[in-house]
Symmetry: C2
Subunit: 296 residues, 2 copies
């Protein structure tokens, strides 16, 4: 049980919202739940994620807005207008446009810090939720200059109770990183999986673990992901254009145009594979370092 | 122990060759091993994969050529010239060009059937080998019209002893499928990982399971993969060009050009995500059907 965080209201009982609620319940926090879909609230309640929010409930220490990205500014503004909590955060995977829209909508930025837990899954809805979803994961917080230190401290405490590690960075930097680590990989995984939308039995019989791994995230809810991509359109387009350039060059090299087989400097295919090896090594090493620091 | 397959010679003690040897040893087959790198042979022998091949050994029932793709025609021709076995196969992941080169090199096609086990991993060399690598996996065999029924039967028996399932298809069809299920996903995984070759600490701290999954195969040996891509250049380029087109259209849509947000027919991004969902569903279903048929 946390001394400073006794009561949390979660608005949105999808995968992330319900998982936050479960993690906080396990830490002894009183959690209340709301969703425009009453069945989602009932499902989350049956999982032990908390009690349905009722008008007249005392104000929460932190309100977590766990709706799709494009709904966050409106839900946040309404929640603040109704005085549902002392401090507000969200869990959307895009931050810049959302923060600008929240400001334009007249939200109180002193009591709001945008957040993004780097966790999730290809399943959605409360049925896929689990309290351990954030254990050992990073959780980005992107305070606005107007965000008060008290707001930031309260939400950082919520992150800690969920078992995650706070990473502080500006919203624009977050969006560039999120495009590279999450949004573009999702689009590319979808494009790879899309090649199999009309696949015949022989093709499917030859599918191995490699393709299963690279297409896992392509199972994500298309509506939610359309929203995420739109919210982070420019940063995603920038990373995607670089990737398209690399792949177009690889295709040209395979057609015998551009570059010669051989050493990395002259052979674009070897260069791409070697850079891929190096990037993969850093990705694996970063994970190993985090696992080690958690064990220490 | 198989009645028809008593003695196998494996030429090449890398991940696949050594794993084939271990699987066959577990089935009671006598296995002999050769590699131009003597340490690889010694390593495989210590793992219990078989005994080093010696001049004067009796001819094998099946010789497995487990070298990188581009070396297969030469190694096959030499092995046939020396009469090392009754029947020959290989395990390279490309088939069309290799078969044409084997024919041009004057190999005996009656005693040869090209093969490709759909298994592997991002690690290479005998140290990563295991006898269970092929359990429940597909193993493509691509007989030439000149391949004798006896040859095909012997190699199909070897596949069975390795715990895998034979999928018969022509070499050109194999290469089209392999480009889609394996070679293009590898290149794309490399291109995604390559974005992180110079990544800073903040970026790496925000890497989650999604990126780790889509970049797993990018850890593969770049030299071997350069060879595979070259051997299947046209089929890989064709699939890659379609993918580049999809991704370039997605980038344009994100920049506000081409298509409107909304329904799949008019919004290229939603269309791509929905086709990705459908393809992923078929990939998952194919795996579930195979696991079920293995359990039955």
């Amino acid at each position: 049980m946390s001394a400073s965080l006794r009561r949390v209201l979660v608005l949105g009982c999808g995968l992330i919202g319900t998982s936050v609620a479960l993690a906080l319940r396990a830490a002894g926090v009183h959690v209340h739940l709301a969703d425009r879909d009453l069945r989602a609230v009932q499902h989350a309640e049956r999982l032990g994620a908390g009690l349905p929010h009722r008008p007249g409930d005392p104000a929460a220490d932190v309100v977590v807005v766990a709706t799709p990205p494009s709904a966050v500014p409106r839900v946040l503004r309404d929640a603040q207008a109704r005085g549902l909590g002392a401090v507000y955060t969200d869990v959307a995977s895009t931050k810049g446009r959302l923060l600008a829209e929240a400001e334009a909508a007249g939200c109180d930025l002193a009591t709001y810090v945008p957040g993004h837990p780097l966790a999730g899954g290809e399943s959605s809805g409360p049925a896929a939720a689990r309290g351990s979803l954030f254990a050992g994961r990073s959780w980005a917080l992107c305070p606005h200059p107007a965000t008060s230190p008290k707001t930031l401290a309260a939400v950082a405490e919520l992150v800690r109770l969920c078992g995650a590690e706070t990473v502080l960075l500006p919203a624009t930097a977050h969006d560039r990183v999120a495009a590279a680590v999450s949004h573009v990989p999702h689009l590319v995984s979808s494009a790879l999986a899309a090649r199999f939308a009309d696949a015949d039995e022989t093709t499917l019989s030859l599918v191995g673990q490699g393709l299963r791994d690279v297409t896992r995230i392509a199972g994500g809810a298309s509506g939610l992901w359309r929203d995420i991509l739109e919210q982070n359109a420019d940063a995603v387009a920038t990373v995607l254009e670089q990737l398209v350039e690399d792949l177009a060059m690889a295709a040209a090299a395979l057609r015998g145009r551009g570059g010669a087989a051989g050493d990395p400097p002259t052979d674009p295919l070897t260069d791409l594979l070697v850079r891929g090896n190096r990037g993969r090594e850093l990705i694996v090493r970063a994970r190993a370092a985090k696992v080690e620091s958690l064990a220490a």
